[in-house]
Symmetry: D2
């Protein structure tokens, strides 16, 4: 088991770190300030300029599509270090074309897409010209058990017709978002995990309404957003079906593994950033005659932050290493573990950093509050904690069960 | 030690509970939806209608100013039950003229105000005609140690001149907010707790700028708001000084005791509401073939919620009972205890309720996310947890210290 | 809801507190030191002298059988204060004839015993002349689900014949232990909660073997002890059956309610004692130039201890108050709550006190380590935490379930 | 960063694992049962037979002195895997001559001993012919701040004369324990960390009294033991001084690094064993109609155990890897981190396993209770948690402090 970097990866990491620290982070606040200018769901000229400028630089520096094994030339372990860095900046993941849900969607097109899909969607996504969304969870059912998913998809002549609602369509607010991958129910018969399918729908298909932006603890995350969407007789050609009817779960598994772990890698980066802000603040501010760092239990708070981050990062690296071994089934419990542990630690450290900042911590004056709300969604997205803990427990118990 | 209600109080509680459940709660969402209509910092005609209509009803039912010992005829213990009910609704505290920071400010005017102040500010506040703000914390210093407070207040002829910045002026966004009570520094000499003073400043005084609304995890809490305010050569007459120079801490102590406990009482109400929503959701939603309630550790989650709420409520009642005994010094550690324990429990139960709701929990579709962000500020407002824990520990150790 | 004491109870409490502090506590260590003298399972002459001397004093002071509503003249709430005091001393419960499992057994004889049983067992127990044991849990089954209990009891002519094993027969090591109340299975048919019975067996009945003392984290708790016992064709007359066959659970419920709460009351006393020892130690010992109290997070540790004890005590008083209202079914969730919360808090505070004492804390030089091991068993005895949490959750959810 | 094993190490691990599972573990209970036969502080013939037989086997299999870099040919990372295995068995560390405090003492002799000391003590220790103790902590001072240590050591002619008390002299009960390494105070002047020294004292030196065995939650850990020892005019030659007066802390640092991490490695092994026992129990036992594993929150308990063990193990491996890099100062915070995290996780998992076992868990019928008490001491031995957390925090903050 080795968590080291190849010389190629080490060089990339150095470059990436500098690029993010010197170019991307300074632009984060400026970009976010523009959100309230004009229509929240349009990019302002300044936002476009910032974003496209940085994307061009990222490309030039070879920091583009690093998530992609071939494009980046990185193992999952190596990519973990990159994703951690990107997690420290609001813009960095998009700037490097490594942001969710696009990476997952590109992976789906890459693995399961037809040549036509690759041409139409994968290429512009890889180029950063368009964005995409992934429509899974629904308002009317407990999506933690994904067999509940109910958006109806019925064959009608040469087309499929979709009806129903999805919400939390992350990224659907972005005007550049051009394509949705949608989990649908194509059957009510047969094995529970073979009644669902995944289908590709252009974002501008007739019959799609964006009902409203969902808020995350009050944030609408414009212009990216998380939309509540209604499908009314939305029609797509038969070729839009991925792999074939009933194979939705197979695709979801393939898609979610890397996606989950990328979120966790970035969460580690956010935790590091929170710890950094917390340390700086604890040395700057004084109360009762001493820097905050030296008051009460603050050493414990800082030490716990460091200890928990280290452990979560190592677990994340091990999960990545397991994925690199090529046995998805063996790696699954490790992904579940880090899916639970990563956000948990990052939330805890971020919350402690908020407290160290006093009232400033809950405000817009640090990235902490926003970061916390994003991290909080990770305990629900792609399977809530309880479901992942159950997976871990079942894997653990399997080795003790008597063969029957 | 008795936590019971007099027949008068019991009658009030029944009436209050019904009024809030039947009239106020149903109006909460409608009122909040109006916030995004027009200028966020103006009340829309509909908001005015809702609010004033409910206020009239509250008055008619004798549910007005219950926080005030004489007006309400309630002990602190008895008021705790009322405040808990009000905590369950967004509008209820204001509808019953029991909301922060007005109650604390009214108390200050009542105890320390001149007859002119009582006429000018206390009477319209008691009548619900105006609102007020309390300006304590500052961006440049660690206000957890309030001796750091630095807004300058210098005598100049027949006036005081104020210069500096305050933030988190809660309620200052409301167009009806007419008066500020401001903690200022009037001296840099003498005992540390005698260099500060409290002074009354009309909200429309020349030289006051509302720089920007502070956000709480993205919420601006419009139209109430929490403002960052700048004072530039703001002039008030000498009579605006409360009690006299150097007595700021004395007033702050008198003000904060009841205020802190009122927040905690309402926090218990929020926790109860979260538990209620969590239970309902856990029975409604199904996954893996069973209601969520019966899956995994959810019984534990619900039981822990119930157990922790009960304990926090009892502690709150005991703190209230201590206050009713009339010895403020003896009651102080109890107020510190509940100041820590109340928000902690309410946050925990609210977070668990969020998790039980899945993605809906973090959204605008339940009051949980907003409630969480409000509760989170209570771990900082009126003294951060660490300062209150220190107070509790020092009181505890005092009895073991050798007399020297 | 009132948690106050009548003048009678207040007087008793004052007397009890002084008696325990001045007479009983000083004898604790002396008594325990004698355990290793001679046969651990006999009382040494010195132990007899200490114990009987103190019992005589307790009787003379009217501090005898306070647990018994008529003998003590106390409500459950009032008794809670007494039990808390007794919890602070190893010997006090026995000295005041208030110790487990005797009080529970006396209650069974009182409520369900025949006149002959009252004469033979209840009278000498009330007089402190004999001791008793309660045999419930078994090594071969998960006794958390008491319907698993399997010790066989079969009618044979004019006798019942018992066969099987019990363990954790607390008190069975005491040479004065004369009688066992035994939960047995008398049927394998009918409703699950009507297959078990409770029967009275003299400790010296033929066929009973004390196989071995069970250890609690290494302590055998001699001479009291917790024994693993085997029944081989043990015969008792038909009249030994309590209430009638199949009514074991009915009796167990009546027995366990008060017993559970008494344990919790004493646990609160242990927590108080731990906090006291912790505070004293934190002021006495110095490291890095300051008393431990002032180092790192120790204020937080002390404050948390105080806050959690207060909350647990109030919950315990409320559970007692619920019992005093006379509706056992309504009180049940409260007993479950305190059954979980009491030991949890007491364990936490005791563990923190151990840590504050350094290596001394884990040793025989303070009562902390022994106290911890005893408290740890309370998370299992009379139903493990998980079972009680489930009861609390089910009671909570009941109010939300749709009537079917 | 690589946590892999060389082929040599991998082979050793396979052999060690099998040897412990098949030979050593089955002997554990038998050995411990003998403790109560005859004098607890003598080895019975059967104990000698078991121990010496296994030691001979370990030697023959090349599983002897693996802790020693040269003897074992292992890196610290590689040894971590071995130590984890040994942690699962009571006897294994001694059987493989890898037990505390002997390894630390051998290291001291190896690094700092004179040729005479190596001949007299190191050789027989390496051969497993004698045992040793390390006398650091004292009853009268807070040894968490080791500058408090006060056992007096005064030069008198050609000898040093020692007076004072030590306690928790682990291993001093063993009749084969022949030599003590003792931390003493040789000066009251000069820098705080140069007033102490380390000196070698034969266990049978005149003037040494073993006052009493210290108990750990009731266990005396005979025949190994933890003794309270008094030195009265104990005389040793000047050559007994290690390195020279005033260099005690220098030696202690060199000694404690590896020792601390070895404890943690074994703690991980104990945690694994607890998880294993917990899983087995949860599948075997039934309550309410299902295996315990499927009831309530037990999946969460098991999953948390697995997740926390994985993280702690990885942190331990990283600390080992840091040590292998050869920069002791850089590795120090990592050792502090694992010193806190290792026992914490192992205690938590062990406690959860106790709970899953019901009353059996607290008894002598599983290794869990004993293991818990041992693990609990690790939160105090070699520096309490708070001191290590402080070290971690200080290292963290160092990078943010402005150079002055």
């Amino acid at each position: 088991m080795t968590f080291g970097l190849s010389p190629h990866a080490a060089g990339l990491l150095t470059r990436l770190r500098r690029f993010i620290a010197e170019r991307v982070m300074p632009a984060d606040a400026e970009f976010l300030d523009e959100v309230s200018v004009g229509d929240r769901w349009e990019l302002t000229p300044k936002q476009v300029e910032i974003l496209e400028g940085l994307k061009k630089q990222a490309r030039a520096l070879g920091l583009w599509n690093l998530w992609h094994p071939e494009a980046g030339g990185l193992s999952t372990v190596e990519y973990a270090y990159m994703a951690e860095e990107m997690g420290k900046s609001h813009l960095a993941p998009e700037v490097c074309n490594c942001n969710a849900p696009d990476t997952g969607n590109m992976e789906v097109f890459h693995k399961y897409g037809t040549p036509a899909m690759k041409k139409a969607w994968l290429e512009p996504l890889m180029a950063g010209d368009i964005r995409s969304a992934y429509l899974m969870t629904e308002p009317q059912v407990a999506s933690s058990d994904a067999t509940n998913i109910s958006l109806s998809c019925v064959k009608s002549g040469e087309e499929y017709v979709l009806n129903g609602e999805k919400w939390w369509a992350t990224g659907a607010g972005d005007p550049r978002c051009s394509v949705y991958i949608v989990m649908v129910r194509t059957s009510h018969k047969g094995p529970r995990h073979e009644q669902h399918s995944m289908i590709v729908v252009p974002a501008n298909a007739k019959g799609i309404e964006k009902l409203r932006p969902m808020e995350v603890y009050g944030h609408d995350d414009a212009p990216h957003g998380h939309f509540h969407v209604r499908f009314t007789d939305v029609r797509v050609p038969l070729e839009a079906m991925l792999l074939g009817e009933g194979r939705g779960f197979e695709i979801a598994q393939g898609r979610l593994g890397p996606g989950r772990i990328h979120h966790c890698m970035r969460a580690i980066g956010m935790a590091e950033k929170a710890l950094e802000l917390m340390c700086e603040r604890s040395l700057e501010r004084k109360a009762f005659g001493a820097p905050l760092a030296e008051l009460g239990g603050n050493y414990d708070v800082i030490a716990n932050g460091r200890m928990e981050i280290e452990q979560a990062r190592l677990l994340c690296l091990k999960a990545a290493w397991m994925m690199d071994q090529g046995d998805a089934r063996a790696a699954a419990p490790w992904i579940s573990m880090i899916k639970v542990a990563g956000p948990e630690v990052a939330l805890k450290v971020t919350d402690a950093a908020v407290q160290m900042h006093g009232a400033m911590g809950v405000s817009q004056d640090t990235p902490l509050a926003r970061q916390w709300t994003h991290l909080r969604t990770l305990r629900l997205a792609d399977g809530p904690d309880a479901v992942h803990r159950r997976q871990v427990a079942r894997a653990e118990l399997r080795q003790y069960r008597k063969p029957s």
